[in-house]
């Protein structure tokens, strides 16, 4: 027990910080923990909302990191996974009046279907062609969603609106509960992903990323392993989509566009490819950067965003987490040197 705690100190610390975050922020605002517990409006509620968005983005980026960073599949159609989850949740709740659990069941089934769809493509094309075919499949979905014929269900280019969210999890009145639900899902998914990557299956996935031919020579059926990663990724992204739909009550067609896949790519690259932790750090950096720039710079925000990404690619290629892992020893040494400087000065 003790060793588990020690080994995963950063993870537990992060979880602890995220649990007390709403109350601490509330305290800064002068709201007592009881008021925060009662979902009083204020800064705490706003920060919870931002955090929920970051959690959803993290889930989505995690799912992309699994197939891109771990299994080495570059898919340009990842937004399909997310958008199917979001749209299906919205349509089933709104037009078919199903309850939340039935809806989630259908979403999982849809996730399975889309993973099988990508699985059909998977052994036939590889590399950049796989990226293009997945882009094609995702664009067909985007076009379907945007088409006027299905406007009754999807809302065409306006987006899906007016989703009736069940009361016990409504983001307006029960936001703290939503926050903890999203946090729990994130923690569970992160734990599952860690286990997956550390398991023999995950190791084979990494081997496939490094050299597929060699993994085949060693006798692994590489398709099975890639498909396993794809399946897990599809489930996670669809779940993230469902959460997105429940939180926003609006699903914009942008979530099905290629731009949203690029968002996942950017988050993963910001945080560090194949690190898993990078997804949370990257999503945090991405969302805060985007939010801060839009608020204080206005329209030219994407310019600075783009410049930041270019700078990252050129100067911090392993992302925040990857660079931290590479340089942590040097950083420690630097701190020690500074500490020595001070201690010798005081003597």
């Amino acid at each position: 027990m003790k060793t588990t705690l020690l080994q995963n100190r950063p993870a537990f610390l992060t979880a602890l910080i995220l649990i007390i975050l709403p109350f601490v922020v509330g305290a800064f605002d002068g709201a007592s923990p009881a008021a925060v517990w009662e979902n009083g409006s204020g800064i705490s509620k706003f920060v919870q909302g931002l955090a929920i968005e970051i959690f959803i983005l993290t889930l989505y980026a995690l799912s992309f990191d699994l197939i891109f960073g771990i299994a080495g599949l570059l898919s340009f159609g990842h937004s399909l996974f997310f958008a199917v989850g979001a749209y299906l949740t919205g349509i089933l709740l709104k037009n078919f009046g199903l309850n939340l659990w039935q809806t989630l069941g259908w979403v999982l089934l849809a996730a399975l279907t889309q993973a099988v769809l990508f699985g059909i493509v998977l052994p036939r094309v590889k590399g950049i062609t796989f990226a293009l075919v997945t882009l094609g499949i995702a664009s067909v979905f985007h076009i379907l969603v945007m088409s006027r014929e299905l406007g009754e269900y999807t809302g065409a280019d306006v987006g899906l609106q007016g989703v009736p969210v069940p009361d016990f999890i409504s983001p307006a009145n029960e936001r703290l509960r939503f926050y903890f639900v999203a946090l729990c899902i994130l923690a569970a998914v992160y734990w599952l992903y860690r286990r997956f990557v550390d398991s023999p299956t995950g190791r084979v996935c990494i081997a496939i990323r490094e050299n597929e031919g060699r993994a085949k020579m060693l006798g692994y059926n590489t398709f099975t392993f890639k498909f396993a990663a794809l399946l897990l990724s599809s489930f996670t992204a669809a779940l993230a989509g469902a959460l997105h739909c429940l939180y926003q009550p609006i699903v914009s067609p942008n979530t099905a566009s290629m731009g949203f896949t690029v968002t996942a790519l950017l988050i993963v690259l910001l945080g560090g490819v194949g690190t898993l932790d990078g997804a949370l750090v990257g999503a945090l950096a991405y969302r805060l950067l985007d939010f801060g720039l839009r608020r204080y710079v206005g329209e030219s925000a994407s310019f600075i965003n783009g410049a930041v990404y270019v700078a990252f690619v050129l100067f911090i290629p392993y992302g925040l987490v990857g660079t931290w892992r590479l340089k942590s020893l040097q950083i420690q040494q630097g701190w020690q040197r500074i500490a020595r400087l001070f201690s010798s000065a005081s003597r």
């Binding site: 882009l135 067909v140 945007m146 006027r148 310019f303 965003n305 990252f312 690619v313 290629p317």
Partner: protein, 514 residues
Amino acid sequence: MALFFRKNVLLVITLSVFAGLLLAAAQGMERKDFLITLLRGLSVGSLTFLVASGFSLIFGLLDVLNLAHGTLFMIGAYLGWTVYVRPDTFVDLLTPLALTAAGFTAPALWNFIAAQLPPAARENRLLPWGLLLLAALLAFWVLPRYPIAAWDTENFSQAPGSYALMLDQGAPLPFPQVAFEKISSFLALSGLLSIGVLGALGLAFFQPPAQPVRPGWKDLVPIVFLLMLGLGVFAANDWLTAVLSGLNSNWLFLLSVLIATLSGFGLGALMESTLIRPLYSRPIYQLMLTLGMSAIGIELVRAVWGRPEFTMPKPALFSGSGAGCPAASFDAWWQNNCSIALVFEGRVRVYNEILIPLVGVFVLLAVWLLLQRTRLGMVIRAGVQDREMVEALGINVRRVFTLVFGLGVGLAALGGALAAPSMGLSNAMGESLLLNALIALAIGGLTSYPGAALGSALVGLIQQFMIKYGQIGIPIPFTDILFKPSAPIVPASTVLLMVIILLLLPNGLLGKKD
């Protein structure tokens, strides 16, 4: 022959299916409609081809998936517009650009100067950083003060759209007058020159120390040329502006297309040598870099030219509408410069549906000749096949990379400048064309040059026939139902085609098999 057939059964079948579809389409509509749709498809295909061919050359040789290609297409369009509608801005911009760039074109000279320094001083990194900082500060101080006659996106009467509209109406707006007010002209010119010199000197100090090599006169040609150009344009500013704005619109259009293409070439070469080159060992990062560049490019265009869409008037040769129009024969068109010609009794827009496909075919042939008949083309083809082998043979592949990247971007910019009068200018024009080009390349084969042409033509034709059938409807056999493909089906049809073809032939129609 039989062997070829057996090896390419799927390709032959696919092509014959397309031919059959085309014949069926010809049966389903009147001859003039068919012809117009065909020409429109070829026009869209030509623009797609201009983007796709550069993209495929770059991807084939450099293995860089340049997702900023659509944005560069758009930048080409905006640059062409600027030269065509606002030649005064273009002339004003030449001097600062040439003078700033002059410093960077003589690395041999700066290396020679840097090598004179004692090695101990070279160890110190303070000097180069200080020089770079000085150059940056100088740039921040001089550049905003340099007077450039430009449009004002906030002010409607001076917005880019208004200039284009008034030029189209035959009563062009007067260009704004600017003068050196915040800075004296001598200070501005020497400041511009020092930005480049200080920056280049700072970069030279970063180089590892080497034996000083005296620069020959050849090393000094570019810097002297740029200096002369900058100062000459500065001296003859008013005269040049008057000449350009008084020029016949056909020649001005030709000039603007040429300048857009050349600037695209320069922009591409600059991008490759500064941003892409450090990343050849990290392929995925190039993808992110080009995505970032694309976002930056779109924002830059929005900041300079504004968000609203606007048009670019067609040159006089393609905009006549007086007596004798629409022209029924070539002679009639040549005399009246009609914008519309009658081809088999169908009304065809000359610029959109005849000139653009012609330019597309011309570029196809020119680049094909370049690839097949010159030494550079030989190196490119060899590099596409086996890059390491070419390097091992002692060919300076790096220089060829820069050239090819420049060439690819130049082609895209040419496409943009050509498309501007027919499509109009908008911030989103690049993205849809990039998607079209990607689909075309995936269909034709990613690194195959003929494949790019075939794929682009197919994409253009299928889209235009789908649009046409969206108007007249497809009769479904044995029923009375008219199936009308709606607007979203147009892009979906090409995407679906791409998916099907890639699943049948993973390397595209004309791509090489592994």
